[in-house]
């Protein structure tokens, strides 16, 4: 089979490269000013301690807040088991747009992230897995060349290690600043997932708020099991674009997790406090 060749290729060329990349655990990064202070949905004041105990679900309106990737990992994996992989990527700004450079720097300073995606190996309920998380606080988690490459790397890493792969999606779609390159990341990530099909490995995609556009239309919708958080916005075209096209207002609850469950595109809606248990159980089934 062709993928035997690919496997050899991956084993031969990828791991022992000249570049030495640190494999470290993410450090606790200070929460930036403003984040988790007011609920973005009901605008009421939040109490930080209650919030953390409550899995970052607003205690006024019950809406899950958008999480930083670090908080997501901390609440999902077994304590201390996460080892970050694939660090050290930067985008090269294909259209040489200065405002994009500025935006990247601004977002880096704000989030202490390289780009919108981090991944690494971890254990959930003692089961080893590869976990990847998109961070909506970094340019709305949009997929450009770096995110596309790192998602593909995460898939290849799971393939080589024979681990199941879990990706938490939170993204506004393709990164428009990178134009056609972002589009090609859709093809790249989707075709890489075929490796896992070949090797009989599990891919669990967890859709959180928001999951839109080119990310939904590629790896997010290709999970063997697709979970979703309650009340998340999930869809292909943005609600405003649809309203402008059809010149009508959209029905209540359109493009929510509950809507997708009803239409048959999501396996299960899992509230945040149960997420770890459910993921652990799914990993046990496939162990």
């Amino acid at each position: 089979m062709s993928f035997e060749i690919l496997k050899k290729h991956l084993q031969k060329e990828r791991p022992p490269q000249k570049i030495k990349v640190a494999e470290t655990q993410p450090v606790q990064v200070e929460v930036p000013l403003g984040l988790y202070e007011d609920c973005p949905f009901c605008q009421r004041k939040l109490n930080k301690e209650t919030l953390e105990k409550n899995f970052f679900v607003c205690h006024h309106c019950e809406k899950p807040l958008r999480l930083r990737s670090i908080d997501r990992i901390n609440m999902t994996v077994d304590a201390g088991s996460f080892i970050e992989k694939g660090k050290g990527y930067i985008t090269l700004n294909p259209f040489f747009d200065k405002t994009y450079d500025d935006k990247i720097i601004e977002n880096k300073n704000k989030t202490h992230l390289e780009d919108a995606f981090i991944y690494g190996s971890a254990r959930i309920d003692a089961e080893p897995c590869v976990i990847g998380v998109l961070d909506s606080h970094f340019m709305m988690g949009s997929m450009g060349s770096v995110v596309g490459e790192k998602v593909t790397k995460a898939i290849e890493y799971a393939y080589l290690k024979k681990y199941p792969l879990i990706i938490f999606v939170a993204s506004g779609g393709a990164r428009m600043q990178e134009g056609i390159f972002s589009l090609m990341q859709m093809a790249k990530t989707s075709s890489a997932l075929y490796l896992l099909d070949q090797a009989g490995l599990l891919f669990v995609s967890v859709l959180t708020d928001p999951t839109m556009g080119g990310v939904t239309a590629s790896f997010a919708m290709l999970g063997d099991i697709i979970l979703a958080e309650p009340k998340a916005l999930i869809g292909f075209a943005g609600p405003r674009v649809i309203e402008q096209t059809i010149k009508e207002t959209l029905p209540e609850g359109f493009q929510t997790s509950e809507f997708l469950l009803k239409k048959g595109f999501v396996d299960k809606i899992v509230p945040r406090p149960e997420m770890k248990t459910v993921l652990g159980r799914i990993l046990h089934y496939h162990a």
């Binding site: 050290g88 134009g179 090609m184 075709s191 075929y194 674009v241």
Partner: protein, 319 residues
């Protein structure tokens, strides 16, 4: 070419001159006009990116029906996705290409208002992509090469499309096309708009016609989202790298098909000829390849696409 004149203005002027010339009876006067016409014709050679956007969307641009008529023999259209319905925005079927049976799939735009409405201006619904996938899987079963023709502003943003899983349909196509074991050849005929185009374009050989465009969103969308000013779409077209020559330079496509001066619609027969030659050549390359090489080559091609750099991180720096 004068800067403030678009290709459409030039075209109008040229058509007018040609009409005037035909109405003249005096051969000398005709000869004098020929010089002017020729100069004007030549000035259509140098096009801006925005001119190419206009040409890609030109209402007279050869559409898939005409292309199939000219390039293939005995085309039979097949309908439906076997689940929900038939999407007129994507057409597909079987035909002979130089005597070889092939599966042909492409976006249908229609050439008048009634057809435009029927085909939803080539903006497909999920059932269109699922029909395409069904036909591609069939092609794989019977070992037929697949040729796809792209001409769409994008997948349709509507209530029904979302309800039936537009994103899921596109994602399944991307994954399935990447590992299909027959040659897949794609020609971007006009507009290659976003995921709606890519869902039929994960191919061994992606060719673009000279005046087609391929991008993640329209120049109008780029200008209004990133610059908050939709009127700067001309400027956006220049920076977006959406023309065939730009994309070939970035190695995101594999080849360019020459068009007659002023666009494919000005001399369709010459256009079909170069299109047919290009398809024949790329089919020759890929027909002889074994399945594994087809899949592996296609995978590697998309695997390597991206514009980024990896740098060295020392452990102490990363803390």
């Amino acid at each position: 070419m004068p800067k403030d004149q678009s290709i459409l203005d030039l075209e109008k002027k040229l058509d007018q001159l040609l009409k005037e010339r035909d109405s003249l009876t005096d051969e000398k006067a005709q000869g004098a006009m020929d010089g002017v016409i020729d100069a004007l014709h030549q000035s259509m050679k140098s096009l801006t990116a925005w001119d190419r956007v206009l040409l890609a969307r030109h209402p007279k641009r050869p559409h898939i029906e005409a292309v199939i008529d000219a390039l293939f023999q005995d085309f039979t259209e097949f309908h439906g996705d076997r689940f929900f319905g038939d999407d007129p925005a994507i057409m597909g079927g079987l035909a002979f290409f130089n005597g070889l049976p092939v599966t042909v799939i492409g976006h249908r735009k229609g050439s008048n208002t009634a057809e435009n409405i029927e085909t939803n201006f080539a903006m497909p619904h999920p059932e269109g992509y699922r029909k395409a996938l069904r036909l591609m899987k069939q092609a794989a079963k019977f070992k037929r090469p697949i040729m796809t023709f792209i001409d769409t502003p994008g997948a349709y943003p509507g209530i029904g499309a979302e309800e039936r899983g537009q994103a899921e349909a596109i994602a399944q196509n991307l994954k399935a096309m990447s590992h299909i074991n027959v040659p897949v050849i794609t020609v971007i005929l006009g507009e290659g708009g976003s995921g709606g185009a890519l869902a039929l374009a994960v191919s061994n050989h992606v060719l673009m016609t000279e005046n087609s465009i391929y991008s993640v969103l329209s120049p109008e969308g780029y200008a209004s989202i990133l610059w908050k000013d939709a009127s700067r779409s001309k400027e956006a077209a220049e920076v977006m790298k959406l023309t065939a020559s730009d994309l070939l330079e970035l190695r995101l496509i594999d080849g360019i098909i020459k068009e007659p001066i002023g666009g494919a619609h000005r001399d369709p027969l010459a256009f079909y000829k170069s299109l047919k030659d290009a398809l024949r050549r790329s089919l020759e390359i890929y027909l002889s390849r074994p399945d594994d090489a087809l899949i592996y080559g296609r995978y590697q091609k998309y695997r390597n696409m991206g514009f980024y750099q990896r740098f060295n991180v020392r452990p102490e720096e990363s803390k």
